[in-house]
């Protein structure tokens, strides 16, 4: 192949909304499918993606999201104040998940398992773990280790770091 190909990526997931979590997961999985080494580092609310009781309840953020449309993602814009109506996030998430299922994008829990089985390493951010008072039991079994930011940089040697 080409000489300047990417050999390794370290992807940071910092947000806990559906649209905040999936891009990082898709990029990590896509890296492994290309034979690129991948680390996934979850920090701040992004950590929800690897916390057992949260990972399969991740929702689209409908507040402060001017791109939100109904009834399809390219439909009519939803006035931003309507995003705050109770249930909006639930409805938007259910609709999006249905579309994702059609193109075989797995739910978060299954996707994390797939990415880990593909050989990517999965890490949680130490500062967030301490701040949220989490223990090992809170995490899905695919989390390899809780890392300090220093350790994260060490593990990212030679990698492209991608912040999402």
């Amino acid at each position: 192949m080409t000489d300047n190909r990417i050999d390794k990526v370290s992807i940071i997931v910092s947000r806990g909304s559906l649209e905040g979590v999936y891009p990082g997961l898709i990029m990590a999985n896509g890296a492994r499918m290309e034979g690129i080494d991948a680390n996934l580092f979850f920090t701040f609310f992004g950590l929800h993606a690897v916390v057992k009781k949260k990972m399969d309840h991740i929702k689209i953020s409908t507040v402060g999201n001017p791109a939100l449309c109904v009834p399809t993602p390219m439909g009519m814009g939803v006035p931003t104040w309507m995003g705050a109506i109770p249930g909006m996030s639930w409805i938007a998430t259910a609709m999006m998940k249905k579309e994702m299922e059609k193109i075989d994008i797995p739910p978060v829990g299954e996707f994390i398992e797939m990415i880990h089985d593909a050989g990517a390493c999965i890490y949680a951010c130490k500062a967030t773990v301490d701040m949220f008072k989490l223990t090992k039991d809170d995490f899905c079994p695919q989390v390899d280790k809780v890392l300090t930011v220093g350790e994260f940089y060490q593990k990212s040697a030679g990698a492209q770091i991608i912040f999402t």
Partner: protein, 104 residues
């Protein structure tokens, strides 16, 4: 379009070596293409290749990882150990099908 000679068959391939005419494919061609990638085909590989073949004939698309898991019954770990560093791309190439176009 380029042509190349594998297993005493002339095959048409694209710039990246994916076959463009599946009619030219046979099991010996697959074995030769696998060897180019450093893979010696065994029964476990054939389970994957046969599933891609069957699925492509039904849907005209190379199945993605999740479809391989759920419909093909082939776990992610197995796919990566059978076809290291890019399982679906490698398997599709050996199976004589186009480069996969799905992101997942």
């Amino acid at each position: 379009m380029t042509q190349k000679q594998v297993a005493r068959v002339t095959i048409d391939v694209d710039d990246e070596g994916y076959m463009t005419n599946h009619a030219q494919w046979n099991r010996d061609v697959a074995a030769a293409l696998a060897k180019e990638q450093g893979i010696e085909l065994a029964d476990a590989h054939w389970k994957v290749l046969d599933f891609i073949d069957k699925d492509f004939k039904e849907r005209s698309v190379v199945p993605g990882m999740r479809r391989m898991n759920k419909i093909g019954g082939i776990p992610t770990k197995d796919l990566y150990s059978l076809f290291p560093d890019g399982p679906i791309k490698k398997a599709a190439k050996i199976a004589g099908y186009p480069k996969p176009v799905s992101c997942v």
